[in-house]
Symmetry: C2
Subunit: 398 residues, 2 copies
């Protein structure tokens, strides 16, 4: 018989995808230029020219048997070396090739990291607001997701609640900075406090709590700042990365797990990822894409558009009286809705062809997510529309 | 705490990989040309020129945002259409794009197919000899693998035993033809009998037993024959395919599941695969590779070398008195060892720098697997070495 669990999942349609499909349908009716679709977190800038050049050169010059041949279970050695060297150079780490495991994007990275450091029945702690796909990612491993409520003032970590939720059942803490959906970048202060908390609790429990750091937005940081490198603040850290945003190649499914050399069992974790792969479909990346990434991993697409867009939207939301924390990175901003129900708020916005996502599923009820990975020109055209929407629907509150 | 199951798996080294590593080590000592490494099933012919040409053209002409952008959860529509059309044209099927789910190789395909048609506690039936990676593939889903003993005369299906093993707990039967390790191609007669058995048992149990057909070697068939298309013989068939062998691109991780339109729940199965992906790392293939495959899926590398090699080895093994069934495809042959223990036999062969794999782990104790995906010139040079090995070690038996 067919698996009833997966059959049942077909009814629980993804709210973001529903909105995105609505936007596509509406675009066909009134023209794409007239629908302000802020629903999907899909990079809007082209990959750097270097990615294309390197890919073509590999295809033209490398022997096909070598280029397209099976890669070793743990990834192509020279690719792993180049990623380690890049991280060491950029963040002052001391990775070797043995600490790097190439994966099919951050989702693939998380699938391996979660399985390696937890078992069925364990708890994985996440901090609201958080990426809702963590639910299926974690549930499929047999562990349970526990969501620490948000600090709504800053969208940094709510440490009071974290202390309460971090019980002995917690195998790992999963964070995402810069953050989807809030756009917030965890500060050094936050990461120091988190490291202290994990160290103290690990000592108390007599076993180390692992930190899984999901950082696909690491290279999109604003105001000339850099996102602090999470693994520097706690030894038992598994860094999960994707080049989807930095190289603007989300369809190529390329990322990695980097195991902090100071992590407990650092020498076993990457070989364990190789074993885990056998049970979940050998989801290793394409050999061509792995090799192209190795030569371009220090490059990025032109990511400046995201900061330009953020400033335009942030200023407008502030001016219109929204409660909103200014993002430090990503291509998201998450203001508070102008009525209690963000679902109703987003429904009304649709009448103005503004497609926003209620952030309830992200653990921030009453807030909404705006994904501004789009042309600046279009963002500019959306501003009077946002103003019109707010003035017509919520005039009494202004 | 670290996951003890995966940590424990590090001790159970893969016998094939051990032998392959020994061969690599030995090659460094005496030169690669002097080691006859028949251990790994790694394609030895280059990808067709068309794969390179199409890939370069896509990189040069397609907008990077489209080429490298996220593909839809169920795969790129035009890729799915082209695969369906190719299967329909070649095998007289009636697939539409909706029945095709692109995956990262056959391993990815099996990870989805197995989860969709079974649940924890169910049994999955396989027929010896079988690919031993089916063990971790199946165990990770929570189901249990049951191995029907081989028909040692023909290495077709042992139907007497199959009848006995096919109980109500069996959710799906997993077959692999052309077969790794035996090289045997299931005959039309075998597939008709299997279809009849499954239909009869499904009726008896009151629910359909699914057939999962793993066919990465489908395009490597000998004597001018074609491998019968399995899904034609039973409606409830999920075909798992990889282009690793036909296009000789195993590192690119590209394959698919094709759901027979006549299959129960045919309309739900592909959407279910999309849900399953969320829990196992979104292991979808690279968008560039998907698009390149779509344009080359009717092509193959020059696969004739495998048949040439098979004939050389088969004739030699026969002449030396081995019990061996002539392969109908793949790049494997599986003779019976000349002593009871194939492990001892293969150990002795190593002294002649002949690297064979005991087939015990494949469910064929006493047999050994020879993977002849190598230069014909090298196969020719191996023949006197095989003769020398047999004459010196087993002269009394000849």
């Amino acid at each position: 018989m067919i698996n009833q669990k997966y059959l049942g999942m077909l009814d629980n349609r993804n709210v973001i995808r529903n909105l995105s499909e609505y936007a596509t349908k509406r675009s066909k009716e009134i023209g794409e230029e007239n629908v302000f679709d802020f629903s999907l977190g899909n990079p809007s800038v082209p990959a750097p020219e270097s990615f294309k050049e390197v890919s073509i050169r590999l295809l033209e010059t490398m022997a096909p048997l070598k280029l397209h041949g099976y890669s070793p279970t743990l990834g192509i050695p020279e690719v792993r070396e180049k990623v380690a060297a890049s991280l060491n150079r950029r963040f002052g780490m001391n990775y070797t090739a043995d600490h790097i495991f190439p994966t099919s994007g951050a989702a693939g990275a998380l699938a391996h990291a979660l399985r390696a450091v937890s078992k069925s029945g364990d708890e994985i702690l996440v901090f609201a607001p958080y990426f809702p796909e963590y639910n299926p990612y974690i549930e499929a491993t047999g562990a349970t997701i526990k969501v620490v409520p948000a600090d709504f003032d800053s969208f940094q970590i709510n440490f009071e609640k974290a202390e309460e939720f971090l019980t002995e059942n917690v195998a790992a803490v999963l964070i995402n900075t810069p953050n989807n959906p809030s756009g917030i970048l965890y500060s050094e202060e936050t990461l120091v406090k988190l490291g202290d908390l994990l160290t103290r609790k690990s000592r108390e429990f007599g076993h180390n709590v692992f930190l899984i750091s999901d950082e696909p937005y690491r290279e999109i940081a604003f105001d000339g700042k850099k996102a602090p490198y999470v693994a520097k603040y706690y030894p038992h850290t598994l860094t999960c990365y994707s080049f989807s945003k930095s190289l603007s190649v989300p369809g190529e499914r390329i990322g990695y797990v980097a195991v902090n050399p100071a992590c407990e069992h650092a020498e076993h974790l990457v070989p364990m990822f190789g074993q885990i792969s056998r049970g979940i479909g050998h989801n290793c990346p394409s050999s061509l894409i792995m090799l192209a990434m190795a030569e371009t991993c220090d490059d990025t697409a032109d990511l400046s558009v995201y900061e330009t867009n953020m400033n335009l939207l942030y200023d407008t939301f502030k001016e219109l009286g929204f409660t909103v924390v200014r993002p430090g990175g990503t291509f998201y901003i998450m203001p508070k809705a102008l009525e209690d129900s963000s679902i109703k708020f987003c429904e009304k916005a649709k009448n103005y062809d503004l497609i926003f996502v209620p952030a309830d599923a992200f653990g921030a009820p009453g807030y909404f997510r705006v994904a501004y990975c789009t042309d600046t020109e279009k963002v500019k055209r959306s501003l009077p529309r946002i103003r019109e929407f707010v003035e017509k629907e919520y005039a009494r509150k202004q």
